[in-house]
């Protein structure tokens, strides 16, 4: 495992790139913040990225709500979310690696749902664009989507997500082939879309989170779902997906870069990149 990236996946960040608005005064500070991380990642290209994200009413409708799911397909179409598909390449899968992760995680008592067909929405494609803004005809790596239910209660706890990350890390390391793997934790930060508290931004909490994800993930895993909603908003609970990335990394990591910006549409946008230094 070579690195772990945590990043917001706000749809308008993707739209800003698709519409060449990254130099606009509104967006420039956010994309300038990404630049050092992008340069570093471009020099450390993975073979496969495991992207931990949530679907937003596109591939998964409300007839089925998998708590944790993994895509095992050879490719994933880019979803039309109601405004047409993003003009980005089809996502290429890594089916044998997916199969290995599913088997290993189920053996570790994580009961994973398997998708053989999955249209991927902005939750997955925006983080790929944060990593690689100009993919051309194809993304620079294969992708394994790992979906988390953060829309309908009961949702997984933060502690369960960190534990899943640890099992995911062990699963990645036990794959018999020599693959370079990156893990993306996506979603959040301060994020309250609906209701009287819409537009909530809690910079103190977000900055605490950006720090603790490196130094004390157990503290973040101990927060209740109520804590997340109260401090970061009802969609801010997406931050629990960062803990899956963090759990997957080895014991020795180094922070390469971080960035934090308000606003990205209705929310705060954060990112932090860790180099994985191994055992």
């Amino acid at each position: 495992m070579i690195w772990g990236l945590a990043t917001s996946h706000v749809p308008s960040i993707g739209a800003a790139m698709d519409r060449q608005k990254t130099e606009d005064p509104y967006w420039k500070p956010l994309f300038d913040g990404y630049a050092p991380a992008r340069e570093w990642m471009a020099r450390h290209t993975p073979d496969v990225a495991v992207v931990v994200y949530n679907d937003h009413a596109n591939a998964v409708d409300m007839s089925v709500t998998p708590t944790f799911a993994i895509g095992a397909a050879a490719s994933y179409e880019v979803a039309d979310e109601g405004w047409g598909s993003r003009p980005v390449p089809t996502v290429v899968g890594a089916p044998e690696f997916s199969d290995h992760l599913v088997e290993s995680l189920v053996d570790s008592s994580f009961d994973i749902t398997v998708f053989q067909e999955l249209a991927v929405d902005h939750g997955l494609t925006v983080p790929l664009s944060v990593y690689c803004p100009d993919p051309g005809e194809s993304w620079p790596c294969a992708v394994v989507p790992l979906l988390v239910n953060v829309i309908q209660y009961p949702q997984p706890t933060a502690a369960r997500c960190l534990a899943l990350g640890k099992a995911l890390g062990a699963a990645i390391r036990s794959f018999p082939e020599d693959l370079k793997v990156a893990v993306f934790g996506t979603g959040g930060m301060s994020h309250q879309l609906a209701g009287a508290r819409a537009g909530l931004i809690n910079q103190d909490f977000d900055r605490m989170y950006l720090d603790a994800i490196e130094h004390d993930p157990e503290k973040l895993a101990a927060l209740t779902r109520e804590d997340y909603i109260r401090e970061a908003g009802s969609e801010g609970i997406e931050l629990i997906m960062w803990l899956i990335m963090r759990g997957a990394l080895g014991p020795r990591i180094r922070r390469v870069h971080d960035a934090y910006h308000v606003p990205a549409s209705n929310t705060a946008a954060g990112m932090v990149l860790f180099d994985n230094l191994g055992a």
Binding site: S12, H56, A57, N58, D61, M62, T65, A79, D80, E81, G82, W83, G84, I151, Q152, Y153, P154, S190, Q192, L193, A194, G195, A196, R197, A198, G199, L200, I201, N202, Q203, T224, R225, E226, I229, R230, G233, S234, E235, V262, P263, S265, N266, A268
Partner: protein, 118 residues
């Protein structure tokens, strides 16, 4: 709402019971991710609501674009937003509606660092 669902005032916290209550409304909104359905909805909104089995209250909320009422009737923001997108309304517009502000006021509040509580 189930007994284990977190309760935080000023937010909608969507759970299994809300899914059941809002199912027809969310199915309708979710269907708008397909271009053909967007055209069919726009051609005859009332008939489309009928076909999806919305309750009278849900239908009224959809036809009147009463965004807050849709959420109260079991709508999920991620589904309801697809109807707003069809109307070419942004999430900032909805943020203004939910908080009693104009879109410009809401956008300005975010630019100024966001709204804070407590």
């Amino acid at each position: 709402m189930s007994t284990s669902t977190p309760r935080v005032s000023g937010t909608y916290v969507f759970d299994i019971a809300d899914n059941r209550r809002g199912r027809a409304l969310n199915r309708l909104c979710g269907s708008l991710k397909d271009a053909d359905n967007r055209a069919r909805f726009s051609a005859d909104e009332d008939a489309y609501c009928e076909a999806y089995g919305l309750t009278a209250e849900q239908r009224k909320a959809v036809l009147n674009r009463d965004w807050t009422r849709m959420l109260e009737l079991g709508g999920s923001i991620f589904y309801v937003f697809k109807l707003a997108v069809l109307d070419q309304k942004s999430m900032q517009y909805l943020g203004g509606v939910f908080t009693g502000m104009t879109t410009e006021e809401f956008t300005q509040a975010l630019k100024a660092g966001g709204r804070s509580f407590g």
